[in-house]
């Protein structure tokens, strides 16, 4: 299916007038649609970018965070702006469709007004429309595409592989993909993707000799102009995820190698050099300040929906840094004006994918329906009804994580529960039924085992300090991405700007201080050590048991640490 612009606007008008939403504010949304997707082509080289969709083939809700702190030099800087601070910085009108797409503000009401976001069938329609007006445009996928749903887990990512091929992805890089193991990744690269999708990663080498595992970059002509796309996989994959899944691969940041690769691509005639990155935005910003000759870094990992690129100056000129959010919510569109062999100008827009404004592409919808058929019974099992809003994203906790911690405490009989600070996981509105599919959206990983460990109080402190440093180290290269580990039972205070070992204080359990020498029973899941392989029941079984038992999830009280030193920080609104 290919539409010209006029047909596309007609479809939008039909969608807007067709009563597809339940709310009376829909007329307003319909009007917004026309301006939302009005982005005429400029320049002669266009690149489209998706990232971190976390295998969400269907439209979903995803609440952006109200806590995304920037510490030290990152305080008050993009992407560490939330809510109205973000709207102000990017001049987005409060209450608009875009305000809903980019912030948590008035989330429940806005979600009911504007409907669900993302979904590959709706994304496919938008990609086709944008490509129709931009001949030669390439579609880049920043990774975290194969993980995050029940069907992706059960098909070992085959559903996402097929969907990406049909969507027309040209180049991709990796993070969670690696959790299917080296063999599976290589199988997909060499069989399914052969001649269709290139996997690029300049920073993945063998652990023995340091030989490349993937192509470091590809050069593709767009309208006769050679464009290099360099890959940067998530540098801390074997640390944040189990090393035993990629025992022969080494990752890391490797600025010197990045510089050598960029220089080599320029030497081979590339007039535009971009990096497809899974670094996370703070790391991308630092890298952009150090490596010369990159026109743009298309970033992901930290799930920041950043409406406009950050311009970073460096000794070679300047580099644009973007981040295209998560869960299929957005399509990034970059138009470069290339003149006399180099980039002379650009226009960028991060387009939100509103499912109600973009009709489903029939071919993609058919593919999605087909891959789901064998699993529909399992996916649609009703576990409980939620009375409050359930979401995950935020530096310290999310309501869905709190439910997971509550389930761990109860089912495992623990004093304290830990749940990893993942940034994926969709949102549910008050009154929604929690199905097994929704639960898997929060938990579907290849190392889902639950653990119950006896731990001394001092070890609890060590763990919290370690994770907190991975989040708030003043040097982004020492950060690991992800958010703070979520805790159940335990209370603490946190001073993000303090040094390592000093951030976590006042640890309490049931009104009593944690004793460094006392042993506590701690439940958790997603262990990265090889010894913990196959430990306890998968987390979704534990949470499902809990949810079936309670039937109704009452509005959740978030267990948040008492925060110090964050007053006036525009990365937090509580």
């Amino acid at each position: 299916m290919s539409m010209n612009r006029r047909e596309f606007l007609q479809v939008l008008a039909v969608a807007a007038g067709g009563g597809m939403a339940l709310h009376t504010d829909w007329a307003q949304a319909g009007k917004a649609a026309d301006t939302l997707y009005r982005f005429p082509r400029s320049g002669n080289v266009s690149l489209l970018h998706i990232t971190d969709c976390h295998a969400q083939l269907l439209p979903i809700h995803f609440r952006e965070p109200n806590v995304n702190l920037g510490i030290g030099s990152m305080q008050g800087q993009v992407p560490h702006l939330v809510g109205e601070h973000l709207l102000k910085a990017f001049r987005i009108k409060a209450g608009s469709a875009e305000a809903h797409a980019f912030t948590y503000l008035d989330f429940e009401q806005a979600a009911r007004t504007y409907g669900k976001v993302g979904g590959f069938a709706h994304l496919a329609t938008l990609v086709k429309q944008i490509k129709a007006s931009r001949p030669g445009a390439l579609l880049l996928d920043g990774g975290d595409t194969w993980q995050g749903s029940g069907t992706a887990l059960w098909t070992k990512a085959q559903d996402m592989v097929e969907a990406c091929k049909l969507l027309g992805v040209d180049v991709m890089t990796l993070h969670w993909e690696a959790t299917y193991g080296e063999e599976r990744v290589k199988e997909i690269e060499e069989k399914d993707f052969a001649g269709k999708i290139d996997i690029v990663a300049q920073n993945v080498k063998t652990t023995d000799f340091g030989d490349p595992v993937f192509k470091p970059y590809v050069i593709k002509p767009i309208n006769g102009i050679p464009v290099a796309i360099v890959g940067q996989a998530f540098p801390y994959t074997p640390i944040a995820n189990p090393r035993w899944q990629v025992p022969n691969w080494s990752f890391g940041i490797q600025d010197e190698n990045m510089q050598a690769v960029v220089d080599e691509a320029r030497g081979k005639g590339a007039q535009v050099v971009v990096v497809l990155s899974h670094n996370g935005m703070d790391v991308d910003l630092k890298m952009a300040s150090r490596v010369r000759g990159i026109d743009a870094i298309f970033g992901g990992h930290t799930h920041d929906g950043v409406p406009q690129p950050v311009v970073v100056k460096n000794p070679g000129g300047q580099t644009l840094v973007t981040n295209a959010g998560s869960n299929g919510k957005y399509l990034g569109v970059m138009d470069f004006e290339v003149k006399n062999g180099k980039v002379a100008g650009y226009r960028y827009k991060l387009l939100p994918v509103f499912a109600n404004l973009l009709p489903a592409d029939p071919e993609m919808q058919a593919l999605i329906d087909r891959v789901r058929v064998p699993y529909l019974d399992k996916l649609s099992e009703k576990l409980a009804v939620t009375e409050g809003l359930l979401y995950r994203r935020g530096n310290f906790n999310g309501t869905f994580d709190q439910v997971i911690c509550d389930a761990l405490l109860q089912v495992k009989g623990a004093d304290i529960a830990f749940s990893p600070g993942f940034r994926w996981g969709t949102s549910l509105l008050p009154g929604d039924t929690i199905t097994m599919e929704h639960l898997l959206d929060q938990t579907a990983i290849t190392y889902p085992w639950t653990t119950l460990t006896e731990m001394k109080g001092e070890m609890l402190k060590t763990i919290l300090e370690d994770v907190c440093d991975n989040l708030f180290n003043p040097d982004p290269y020492y950060q690991q991405g992800g958010d703070m580990v979520r805790v159940g039972g335990l209370q603490y205070s946190c001073d993000p700007a303090a040094g390592m070992g000093q951030r976590i204080q006042n640890m309490m359990l049931k009104g009593r201080p944690i004793d460094p020498d006392k042993v506590y029973k701690v439940a958790g899941w997603a262990p990265v050590s090889e010894e913990a392989r196959g430990a306890g029941a998968p987390i979704w079984e534990v949470v499902a048991e809990y949810l079936r038992g309670i039937g109704t999830v009452r509005p959740v009280q978030l267990n948040m640490p008492a925060l110090k030193g964050v007053a006036g920080n525009p990365g937090i609104v509580i």
Binding site: T206, P212, I239, S250, G252, P420, W424, T462, D466, A526
Partner: protein, 155 residues
């Protein structure tokens, strides 16, 4: 197709290739026989190790680069490389401040050798890693922090 040396070794039958490398002079057994400074390797703290090497308190040099990860993927085998553009390099040592014995490796470089070495070190915790270079009779140093973390919770 990306060629990897691990595949060559597998298909070539490990030992045979290593034998060839030895025969070609790439691996020289006599290099392993350089004098072993046991005192320095068991000196304990960074200060004592530097003293045992006769380095005292070396000045920092911008001509020494440490090639090591910002965060170690595996604390048991952290790849640490040191290279320098300094002339007349006699030795390169790697010291890890927080290890029980700071000195992890010393390389004696015969005259005319490219000053670029790499090894793997064990690190139990986050630490500053020092590269100590003796060049033209003088000791100089560079430092980089390598973080060792518990892992997990990412993404």
């Amino acid at each position: 197709m990306i060629k990897q040396r691990r595949e060559v070794l597998k298909t070539g039958g490990g030992l045979g290739v290593l034998g060839l490398l030895a025969a070609a002079g790439v691996i020289k057994p006599e290099l392993a026989l350089a004098a072993w400074n046991e005192g320095a390797f068991k000196a304990g703290t960074l200060e004592k190790s530097l003293a045992a090497l006769g380095a005292g308190k070396p000045a920092t040099s911008g001509d020494i680069s440490i090639n090591a990860p910002d965060i170690a993927e595996n604390g048991a085998v952290v790849p640490i490389g040191v290279s320098t553009t300094l002339p007349k390099v006699e030795s390169i040592s790697i010291l890890i401040e927080k290890n029980p014995d700071a000195l992890a490796a010393t390389f004696k470089l015969p005259e005319g050798t490219e000053a670029n070495v790499q090894t793997r070190c064990k690190m139990g915790q986050t630490s500053n890693v020092y590269a100590l270079v003796k060049a033209d009779g003088k000791f100089l140093m560079a430092m980089k922090e390598v973080k060792v973390t518990l892992g997990g919770c990412g993404g």
